[in-house]
């Protein structure tokens, strides 16, 4: 077992060895060094062929057409392009958007940016389990709503939204649906046609691919275009200029191909680990599961520990790489706004730990993690003035 034990897969996953090998080959081969936009010569066309292969692999995982996939620098950029790009492109049709308090910062901050420029945003609040009922989405729609943006699997709690039901509602009301699938792609089944999703954000590094590359699916018929956020050489159908990074995109394609192949097995693997972890942690009195107990993805388990302070708890877990609050907000240490939105008091939102695991995680690592948490909590409670029922 390699220490510290890495249980922060929701923040970033290790690159799959097959993906790393392919990327290395791509970086090393002079014949693939050309700019994939240099279609005038053989080297450029060789690079472009790799890019197009990857586009098809990414499309295949979510049942999209290759032409509907735009490569970006990651899910943050995809979210921005989906939310701001759609809002700007459709501003004459309406200036109202629906999203949730539990979204990733990329969506939240994009919506705030729009709000500061006159768009109206309805911020849906999840129930105590972190769920948003499709009926709540329907109730939030207004005549000038142009976009609903909701994430599929929440990056902090792992809770799964019923995007298919939400998709049907949006279609019925002729409103576009954007889904942030950074956490769900390759872990839950996504079918943009069956689920009636119009825009879908994807990230490679959450799925054993490289950091710094992502994609946005844009339904060819329903959406067609969004307003670009960057301007330049016309790459990616004019929606995302800049030299396409062949090795990055090829790595993403391979990672997505592997994920498609392994989805059922891996989902089972992480679910077993998650159940083992939860069973182990439940020995502790005053431990609370954050998010719905059943409707959740297998790779994330988020708990709060009553009676201990968050920073000290996190500090005690030096042998583990885990997250306290969102991976993306761990630069600050405010109480997680996502858990606050679920109604957790500040102290419990702060004493939350997100465990996330994946392909290379083992039962021994999970058992080690349980041991670490039990010991840390016992230590902190040994001098805590807060009494915990059953503790």
């Amino acid at each position: 077992m390699q220490l510290p034990v890495y249980l922060d897969y929701a923040a970033s996953t290790p690159v799959d060895p097959a993906v790393a090998a392919l990327m290395n080959d791509c970086l090393g081969r002079r014949a693939l060094a050309a700019n994939p936009a240099a279609l005038g010569h053989a080297a450029g066309r060789a690079a472009q062929a790799l890019v197009e292969k990857a586009r098809a692999q990414v499309a295949a995982l979510v049942n999209a057409q290759p032409a509907e996939i735009i490569f970006t620098s990651g899910a943050t950029e995809s979210d921005n392009l989906a939310v701001i790009g759609t809002a700007q492109f459709r501003e004459t049709r309406g200036r109202h958007l629906v999203t949730a308090l539990t979204e990733h910062k990329a969506v939240i901050e994009s919506c705030r940016h729009l709000a500061a420029r006159g768009w109206r945003i309805t911020w849906l609040r999840p129930d105590a389990d972190g769920l948003i009922a499709p009926a709540a989405v329907e109730a939030a729609l207004e005549p000038d709503t142009v976009l609903v943006s909701l994430m599929h699997v929440n990056n902090e709690t792992g809770v799964i939204l019923d995007v298919g039901a939400i998709g049907a509602i949006c279609r019925r009301h002729d409103v576009l649906l954007h889904v942030d699938a950074a956490q769900s792609a390759g872990r839950e089944v996504i079918d943009v046609r069956a689920q009636q999703i119009d825009l879908l954000s994807l990230s490679a590094h959450k799925l054993y691919g490289p950091k710094g590359v992502g994609a946005l699916f844009i339904d060819q018929e329903r959406v067609r275009r969004v307003a670009p956020l960057l301007f330049g050489g016309g790459q990616e159908r004019g929606l995302r200029p800049g030299t396409v990074a062949t090795h990055q995109v090829a790595g993403m394609g391979e990672a997505f191909r592997l994920a498609a192949e392994r989805l059922p097995d891996e989902a089972q693997h992480v679910r077993a680990l998650r159940d083992r972890l939860w069973a182990g942690l439940q020995q502790l009195p005053g431990i609370l599961l954050n998010g719905h107990v059943g409707q959740r993805s297998g790779h994330i388990l988020n708990v709060s520990v009553a009676g201990v302070e968050g920073e000290s708890l996190f500090y005690s877990l030096g042998g583990l790489c885990v997250a306290s609050g969102s991976a993306c907000t761990s630069l600050s240490n405010e109480a997680s706004p996502v858990l606050r939105a679920l109604g957790r008091p500040v102290a419990l939102a702060q004493s939350s730990i997100r465990f996330s695991f994946g392909r290379a995680s083992t039962a021994a690592e999970i058992d080690f993690a349980v041991g670490c948490v039990v010991q840390a909590v016992a230590h902190l409670r040994s001098f805590s003035p807060v009494s915990v029922a059953g503790g």
């Binding site: 000290s312 500090y315 500040v346 102290a347 001098f383 805590s384 003035p385 807060v386």
Partner: protein, 124 residues
């Protein structure tokens, strides 16, 4: 967040931590802070003949808070009434390398100790 080696040592093996066991002398108690303030500290001590016989603390707070309680308790074990009155929790800042935005935590400890001292003065 960076924690100094001193903080790490006190955090791992805090001195005088936990509930104060029964024993001789007069018991006084002082609290500072709250969950809402991000740190909650309780000091208890037993004294006799203007001297601390035993003391202990409980804390819910960050590693700096816990280390500061431990360091303070170590310094105050066996001290006189005058020494307790004179104790300045801000003096813990340097040895523990407490960052500026956390000096409030030291004041919470000061508060708890001040209440102990006041209770003692009031015949507690």
């Amino acid at each position: 967040m960076d924690y100094s080696g001193e903080v790490a040592l006190h955090f791992a093996a805090p001195r005088h931590a936990g509930a104060l066991p029964p024993g001789p002398g007069t018991l006084v108690r002082g609290e500072g802070g709250s969950l809402e303030q991000g740190a909650w500290v309780v000091f208890e001590l037993r004294h006799e003949a203007a001297r601390v016989l035993a003391l202990a603390w409980q804390a819910w707070g960050c590693p700096h808070t816990i280390a500061a309680c431990s360091l303070a308790a170590g310094k105050l074990a066996g001290c006189t009434r005058a020494e307790l009155q004179a104790f300045d929790a801000l003096s813990l800042r340097a040895p523990l390398d407490v960052p500026a935005h956390k000096t409030g935590r030291l004041l919470i400890i000061q508060d708890a100790l001040h209440k102990c001292s006041a209770a003692w003065d009031n015949g507690g």
